[in-house]
Symmetry: C2
Subunit: 401 residues, 2 copies
């Protein structure tokens, strides 16, 4: 682990000690610019565990955390419907803000968060999404450099067991931010917008809710038209049937090596629950039980990813590989190795981006306007599917690179 400064750039307060925070902890602990100085959570057990593990105060109230002068940045990882309120409290207290995706559940809320950050002069950063993954950022650099010529199309497939893992009821209710639209589609949209330059002109989509008892979107197929003539297709299916990691070296979303014969196991695992209440209680316990150990660190791992993605330029195709980027161009096929951060799963670039924003006093790439543009696409996915027509967008912003 890197030696940490006595006054790191990011003195972090964690808002919400659930699954997302646990996923982030290995990165937070190993990042040289970060020190965790406080937390807030409504569960006493979670607070006690945090204080025991980190030797730092844990508050029952978000307001109290945000008034703590040791904190200069908060990480908002509460259930989605609270993102706006917690971001607004933090902004009013002058804290920089990292908000887990989805940014919020409506464009109005996204706009309010963006305005609050602007008004109070704090940085607002939306992440982690898979647009932060190092291979994706490397592909963006190659596109921007022009070495493979103009971008034509991006096609991404993710077939997983997302919807068939244990879930709390709110995770299966779209109006509360459940289902794929607010949890998986933002990964795909954020990645594709980064690769394509950000400016999506329009969206044509279909979505499906196919599983009895899980009445939220579990799959979608979306066509994106970029303003400059590029286009993209996004496919997600979370029903635990085909697994697209078969096309990604059997490496899973976080970068872990996967067994190739686990089809149907998530679905089978749900049979142990008598009903939705029992399933929700298990999920809530599981998130807390991982506690403050953070994600278990495997012996070896690869880059995180959100499916199999093929990027086509005039002069060649690219795709993320297990450890870098595969380039298929006029010389044939070659692999570019891309370095990883020290922790599993690797989410270091979220912190890099915030630390850079604080140091330079320049807004991060994944700022409020960027996050709102991504959520506009997600909302248009729902609208296009409902109305069965193409939706033209109005809130897109370009990549600043």
């Amino acid at each position: 682990m890197a030696v940490k400064s006595d006054s790191p750039v990011i003195r972090l307060g964690l808002i919400g000690l659930g699954g997302a925070t646990n996923q982030m902890l290995p990165t937070l602990r190993s990042h040289p610019d970060v020190r965790i100085v406080a937390a807030a959570d409504t569960h006493p057990d979670a607070r006690d565990g945090f204080t025991a593990a980190c030797g730092a105060p844990a508050y029952a109230e978000v307001e109290a955390l945000c008034r703590d002068p040791r904190v200069n940045t908060v990480y908002v990882a509460t259930p989605h419907q609270w993102h706006k309120e917690h971001a607004l409290i933090a902004a009013a207290c002058g804290k920089h803000i990292i908000v887990e995706k989805p940014m919020a559940l409506s464009l109005e809320d996204c706009d309010a968060m963006m305005q609050a950050a602007h008004r109070h002069g704090v940085h607002l950063l939306i992440g982690h999404t898979h647009s932060f993954d190092a291979p994706v950022r490397r592909m963006r650099e190659i596109i921007r450099s022009g070495e493979l010529g103009p971008l034509a199309m991006i096609n991404t497939w993710s077939y997983s067991n997302f919807l068939m893992r244990p879930r709390r009821p709110e995770e299966l209710d779209t109006s509360l931010g459940g289902g794929i639209i607010y949890n998986q589609v933002p990964h795909q949209v954020d990645m594709v917008r980064l690769l394509g330059g950000g400016m999506v002109h329009s969206v044509r989509s279909m979505t499906w809710a196919l599983e009895p008892g899980r009445p939220t979107e579990g799959s979608h197929l979306t066509f994106l038209q970029f303003e400059d003539g590029a286009a993209a297709s996004l496919v997600f299916s979370g029903y635990d049937y085909f697994d697209s990691d078969e096309f990604h070296f059997w490496v899973g979303e976080s970068g872990e090596q996967k067994a190739p014969d686990a089809h149907g196991k998530a679905r089978a695992g749900l049979r142990r629950f008598a009903d939705a209440r029992e399933e929700g209680a298990f999920k809530a316990r599981a998130a807390m039980a991982v506690g403050l150990g953070g994600a278990p660190q495997p012996a070896s791992w690869h880059h995180p990813h959100c499916g199999v993605t093929i990027v086509s330029c005039a002069g060649g195709d690219m795709r993320p590989s297990a450890d870098g980027v595969l380039v298929y161009d006029r010389q044939g096929r070659r692999e570019l190795q891309v370095p990883r951060g020290p922790a599993f799963p690797d989410k270091a670039s979220v912190l890099d981006e915030m630390a850079q924003a604080i140091r330079t006093a320049r807004a991060p790439l994944h700022d409020g306007a960027w996050g709102m543009a991504t959520m506009e696409v997600c909302a248009a996915v729902l609208q296009s599917a409902r109305e069965r027509r193409e939706i033209v967008l109005r809130h897109q912003v370009p990549v600043r690179d």
Copy 2:
């Protein structure tokens, strides 16, 4: 080879002795319901080769072939811009007609062919396309049976070297039927329409012509909305970069086992030609040089296919495998073996369908109206890309199964 009857159901006249006919020959020779009784071609060498190989007359004029009373069915495999004229001659002579895809280059021509076949009481069948492939037909049966529940989405990717193989100038001119729109997209559309039931409501697409000196569409990305709520995405890229056969067991389009390290070789092979004229002359010679041996028969082979295709129903996903269909459902993953015809590449079901139509006096599934509906989608791909908007269709017909 099966013993052939003295009066087979299909007494075939070949119109055009080029590459498509060569691809079809092994199937024609081995099919128990087919006897090749005559041919027509403008090239004297091709005619002489045919008569020497098959002991049957070869005509310089299509009209003469169509007047031959031994012929009851013609196989139209002339350059695309001649399909309509040759089909009309055959219909007027009372011959059943198999037309290679693309059916024709305009919907008006498709309609004229369909009307002529109807007026003269002959069967018109459009094929081979990959909708005839045995694994695709098996997946259609499973969808129709309802055992996997309602169809949601179909996603198909084909990344190949299609545009970078040696080509005649007309094969690189969209207005003459060149490029992917008339040669590869019909495979995808026909397959997806068969799987999805036929009734496409609308098309949203982008197309690209990315290669200097090859000014025709070489890639596309298309979203199809079916009337019943299913949807599909079709991706094709023919620039010899990424090869999607990597995701299909390294089995090529015809069913041949492929080398996994041939990226860029088609493109490199073009460097031997000084100019387009030399390339075109080579391609014309090559098609004829294969002569009447038909496609070389490998020691072993698999099912033909047109890329990697994932079909998602409410109760499971399916994809064509090398030798059958992979099903991923609530029980996990299993492979259904699907029998193949005796010849490579396997195109027997085209002949099966025509023989069945003649025997029963009922129109084949892939009749003129079906073929016109597929070409309507292909035309809408071009129009949607040009006008950057969704195109609603008017000539779709359902699968009759």
